[in-house]
Amino acid sequence: MTDTTMPAPRLSLTQRLKRPRALIVLSLLMVIPLIAYVMFGEPLARAGIREIVLIPAIPATLILYALAMASWRESWVAILGGTLVFFWVFVAVSVPFLPLLDPNKPIRPFAPPGTEVGDITFWLGTDLKGRDMLSRMLWGCQRVLVWGVTATAVAYVVGCIFGLIAGYISGIWDEIISFISNVLLSFPVMVLFILILNYLGPSGFNIVIAVTFASAPAIMRIVRGLALDNKTRDYVFAAQTRGEHPFRIMVVELLPNVRGPIIVDACLRLGYTTVAITTLTFLGLGLQPPDADWGLMIKEASNLMVWQFSYMLLIPALAVSSLILGFNLMADGLREMSLRD
């Protein structure tokens, strides 16, 4: 009376890479060097290893991209979105090695796209200070990606912790956490950003804080809802009835099971955060010059409102749009695929 069973097949390399642990390692390999490169560029440069740290990120990005494309075959939406996102990630990790002009070096102001100066060609022209637009556009994705990813990640950690506590432990904790998040959710997001960044002063780290304040309550609500839903599942009862510590139940039993909707939401939220960073930078509350950044490029060019210089506005606008489109399409595709299962 045994059920028919298939012998466990030996895992191929691709399958082994697709296991969650491998994916996490690859993602970290992709993101951490980038974060280090951007946030701790100074000390790394002093140690003489600033460029070197990015090297492991390049193969990690390519492998992740290949894996993603392989497993998203069913959804062209996800493929398109993933391609856009990975394009920018790849640019971010490889841009120091690309044959580009120095993005901060003024060469010849207001050169329209295609200008040739000596043996240099400005494919996308130069900006008002004479810096190469192509180079600035490609370098610009680094900061937006790094701060966007960091801010979203921190918001997620905070949101998940509180969401799990509120959803799983409930009671007075839920009331307190829910009230605080209600207070924060009562603000239109941009108002909250303005208030927080005006108080803390504009900088990447403060954006992380502001995004956490603005996003964590929403994430907390999602996680709380998922936790409330999952906590009535029998496997949680099973864990409770064997006397597991609530912390273990939250982390080991609940957390892995809320990840599906969270990953989709995270993609969307990465998009929102990217928008927020770009917008805040445009408003002067975000990242500060001189390094290239799309929001800054827009801000700097926004005083030059004539047709002839509109390429300076269009280039960063299209770049940021393509990245956000990528995140959104990816989220759509992932959701579509998760519903299909």
């Binding site: 008002l128 005083n303 409102m305």
Partner: protein, 569 residues
Amino acid sequence: MSFLKPRKDDHPKVHEAYEVMKDGRMDRREFVRVAALVGVSAGAAYAMAGIPSPAWALENSPFPADDPKAKKGGKLRVGMQIQKMEDTATYSWAEMSNQTRHIVEHLSMTGPDNITRPMLAESWTVSDDLKTWTFKLRKGVMWHNGEEFVADHVVWNIRRWLQPGLGSSNVGLAAFAAMRKDSGKKDSKGKAIMVEIPGAVEAVDKHTVRFNLKKPVLSVPEDCYNYPTALMHPSFKKPFSSNPIGTGPFTLTDLQVGKQAILKRVTKMSNGKPFTYWGGEVYLDEIHYYNFSNENQLSALASGSVDAIYEFTIEQMALAKSLPINIIPARTARTLCCRMQISKKPFDNHKLRQAIVKSVDNAKVKNLVYPTGGDVGQNHHVAPVHPDYFDLPALKRDVAAAKKLLAEAGYPNGIEVTIDVGNTDGPWHQTVCEALRDQMKEAGINLKINVMPASKYWEIWDTTPFGATAWTHRPLGTMVMGLGYRTGVPWNETHMASKEFDAALDAAEATFDVEKRKPLLGKAEKILQDAAVMVLPIFRPVYTGSSKKVHGFPPHPTGYHQFNKVWMG
């Protein structure tokens, strides 16, 4: 070349200056300025100097000559930051005074040619010791409320500025500072409270005012046109905007801070009688100021939202050139002062400062940021446009020397320093710092640029160890030196404290003769330069623009709007 000789009753200084000029030791334009200062009419002064009087040097009027093609009527829309108009005496921004300048007027008026002419005063005379100044007021000048403008009104205004609690920056001007004395009392921080010297300003008769100064002051007429010195009717109550009584051709009909200030011609006085403006023809019917932040003004002009603007920055020059507008440049002494605070580490190290200064090529920086226009700074804050500018030998970049100095300063392996920059005048501040960074790098100095929003920079400008501070134009070299570098003055952001410097500056300030003053000031310049407290590479021009419809828009170095003769075509 024909020279008009000074008359007998002209101020002895005129004679003195005339001689100096004749000897070729004084620039003719400088002579015109000096002569005008001591009461010679501008027209006469130009005649004495033997140069043709420009169109605006109309006899007995501070305003430019009427353009025969001028058309009457129309409104001028100007893009500028709209500020509040509380009290002219406590104005802190030139924009505020632009909103008021056509409502209330000054005793004197400095034109775009840097010449100060009588305005509400008809003329002035000064004693030989430069201590007693007598202003004859114009007769028949009427306030909008129907009263006649008289000497008592002037006295009332000046005494108001001198009150200790008002907080007017006018008391920092040499003319009015010389009307105050120490009261002997101290405020909570131990600073002396200054009070008016009785009789320092007096109404001699209905149309004569006399200043009795405690020390000689040369710049009295110039001081009387500083932006917070507009003369108000004694019925003034804060805020000015709700009861704007003046002598000017316009009055305020609507003020919405951050949005607009609408000025309209005054046709009737409040007693119902028609108002006749003393200053002759005024063409515009209305002046509309609309709020645009500095960086948006040119776009507003481009989009046709306004006809003229307050200012645009060098980065926008390419845009401006591409537009069908008049670009109006003005040569000024405005500058960016990348100064080190010598009381703070590591800038207390003189060798280090010297290394920093030596590693920079000021001319190269200037040419990078302002390829045309502007003047190269020599790290001492006196600009070639200043009449008392002493031309020290140009600074030379010397990387090897800089490296050596750096090693001597104790940093043989180089050093990292951070400069705060707030781009308070536009993004070119940052460009300057980036140029400094690139140049210093060769000398082993790693400059980090900490960019912050303008408002944040103004909170730390006088405390940061290394910062790029923008300074505005002032008419005289002695003025900037006195404001910025004399021991213990509030704006001394370098914390420079040098007795020799103070002494040199005192000597320069007490010397009327420009040619004599120049070397004295030159000494102070040299001390400042050698102290190596700052990199001051550029004296920048100021650009503004107007649409082709606007005629006669005056390019004023301090951005003062003088629209009496502006007309719309």
